[in-house]
């Protein structure tokens, strides 16, 4: 069994290398810009700070609509990131994975949609923060 493959950020990061600069190939004069190609941009490196504690998930529903997380968005969730006031988190509530805004001060999990009431955290043993949503990715071009 091969344990390495592309979609898992934890495995050796398999990156898509995009050149920082590029220039047309021309016969005769080499382009001066080619001398400045030093490294490639790696989206994994940019989006994932802790590969060993990061996972991907799909957002479903519109409970975080007002902070710009919509149905079908890709979430990058880091279990190691600090759980600060206002952080968007994935929580396990009653065995289900739910995306909420962490309100440490009032011990609540908030939504960003008036249709979804806040959840009291205090005294709930079935509630566990799984990780922090560090990025959400949304597709804008519907081809």
């Amino acid at each position: 069994m091969s344990l390495t493959h592309i979609h898992n950020p934890a495995a050796v990061l398999q990156s898509l290398k995009l050149p920082l600069f590029s220039s047309k190939v021309s016969a005769g004069f080499p382009s001066a810009a080619d001398d400045f190609i030093e490294r490639s941009l790696d989206l994994n490196e940019f989006l994932i700070k802790h590969p060993a504690s990061t996972f991907f998930a799909w957002a479903q529903g519109e409970s975080l609509r007002d902070i710009g997380i919509h149905d079908g968005d890709l979430l990058i969730v880091d279990r190691a990131a600090a759980r600060t006031q206002g952080a968007v988190v994935v929580a396990a509530i009653d065995g289900e994975l739910t995306c909420k805004i962490l309100d440490v001060r009032h011990k609540k999990l908030l939504s960003a949609n008036p249709d979804y009431p806040p959840i009291e955290v205090a005294g709930r043993e079935d509630l566990l923060i799984e990780g922090v949503v560090v990025y959400s990715i949304r597709k804008h071009h519907r081809a």
């Binding site: 091969s2 344990l3 479903q60 969730v77 279990r79 289900e96």
Partner: protein, 415 residues
């Protein structure tokens, strides 16, 4: 000091990572082909569900207790294991991954209080990877294994530090000798023959005297049991000396063409493994047998000396097929076959011989292209024709969990 960290009921814990609803529930994982039980959660163990028992026999008991059953999803376990191991590497610059769910960590020169450090490892692994682990810390590898064993017995803690002779001797007096790392069933019998039954009796025995009845390894084990570090961490894993790919079939096979297809698949899988360790294989082993529990039991195998060292899937497939044609016998209901690559060597140090044929440069390029395509676009994107077109492993996997970590379609959904 050396720590041994291992995952509690690893495969079950992997199934629970993205399923918080299953944590604290009776859950089991089945072997390939849904044959027998290979992992049980604490709650499943409490229901007296035996380890390694055939699944079909236990179905009624499992249904009665609403035990959640999973087919082995080794891809998922491999991914989660990678994350676990990456997190463990944060705790020591010098480590040895011992198996998919165990790692030794060298903790010399770590300033922390060992108990605190062990707890920190445990808590970090839960937070960063959602993996419950046990941590055993002691002056030698053998003792850290014992400490880890003890850690499992300590409720809600899973951490044990054996840092003084009093502590490890207390434990050794309570453990039979077969619980000692490296003491298998044969050695246990031999040791019992000279009156050694507990781990403590082994630790107290004269190493030179015991060696006369066993081996130099047992002598080392005795030193280790007394807190002497004799077995060092193997930081770079040794390349495998042999590679085996074998499977029991979901349904018995009688036709030669089906056997050929299977053996071709296994040869391709073995060749892929061989190329990941940059190896060449000189000797091929092919076997097949019918069920031992039915009449007319038939088993046969063949060792093939290859014309030159190779890692080419096509060469290995064609010789495996030749061998299978020899082994095959009409009327037999085969239930297992396999391919072994023996006599492996490192391709990089291969010395060519002017007067002997060898693997062509073109073949290397083709295989490397094949591996890259299958790596990028998924297994079996390009296959050898002899493998057949119906998917590589026609395995019974009726209870397979989603590929949470390896397929965009199967990522966990967050509401």
């Amino acid at each position: 000091m050396i720590a041994l960290v291992d995952c509690n009921a690893c495969y079950v814990s992997c199934e629970q990572v993205f399923r918080p609803d299953l944590r604290g529930q009776p859950v089991i994982v089945l072997s390939n082909n849904d044959g027998c039980i290979i992992a049980r959660s604490k709650e499943a163990r409490a229901l007296d569900i035996p380890d390694l028992a055939p699944y079909f026999k236990l179905k009624p008991l499992l249904q009665k207790h609403k035990v959640k059953v999973f087919s082995a999803n080794f891809r998922l376990y491999g991914d989660i294991s990678n994350q676990v191991m990456a997190n463990l590497r944060l705790f020591s610059p010098s480590v040895e991954q011992y198996s998919i769910d165990e790692m030794f960590l060298d903790l010399d020169h770590m300033p922390d209080d060992m108990n605190k450090y062990a707890l920190k490892i445990k808590n970090t692994l839960w937070r960063h990877a959602r993996m419950p682990v046990g941590v055993g810390i002691a002056p030698s590898k053998t003792l850290s294994k014992l400490a880890n064993h003890a850690a499992k017995k300590i409720k809600n803690n899973n951490v044990a530090v054996l840092d003084t002779p009093e502590k490890w001797q207390w434990l050794q007096k309570r453990l039979p000798v077969n619980k000692v790392w490296g003491i298998g069933s044969k050695l246990t019998k031999r040791l019992e023959g000279i009156g050694i039954r507990s781990a403590y009796e082994l630790a107290q025995a004269d190493p030179k005297w015991v060696r006369r009845f066993t081996s130099v390894n047992v002598e080392k084990t005795i030193e280790e049991l007394n807190g002497q570090r004799c077995i060092e961490l193997e930081e770079v894993p040794e390349p495998k000396k042999e590679i085996f790919v074998t499977r029991s079939f979901a349904h018995k096979i009688e036709k030669l063409e089906d056997m050929l297809r299977h053996v071709s698949r296994y040869a391709v899988a073995a060749a892929e493994k061989l190329r990941t360790q940059d190896g060449y294989c000189q000797t091929l082993y092919v076997f097949a047998h019918t069920s031992r529990f039915h009449e007319n039991f038939y088993a046969n195998s063949l060792v093939v000396q290859l014309p030159y060292p190779t890692s080419d899937s096509r060469t290995l497939v064609s010789f495996s097929r030749l061998a299978m044609k020899q082994i095959y016998r009409e009327g037999c209901k085969f239930n297992k076959c396999g391919v072994g690559l023996l006599d492996l060597r490192d391709r990089r140090f291969y010395q060519s011989d002017l007067f002997r044929p060898e693997q062509s440069v073109k073949s290397e390029a083709l295989m490397s292209a094949l591996d890259r395509i299958n790596y990028r676009y998924g297994r079996d994107t390009v296959t050898i024709g002899a493998e057949g077109l119906t998917g590589r492993w026609t395995m019974k996997q009726q209870k397979l969990s989603p590929s949470y970590t390896s397929s965009w379609r199967d990522l966990p959904v967050v509401r």
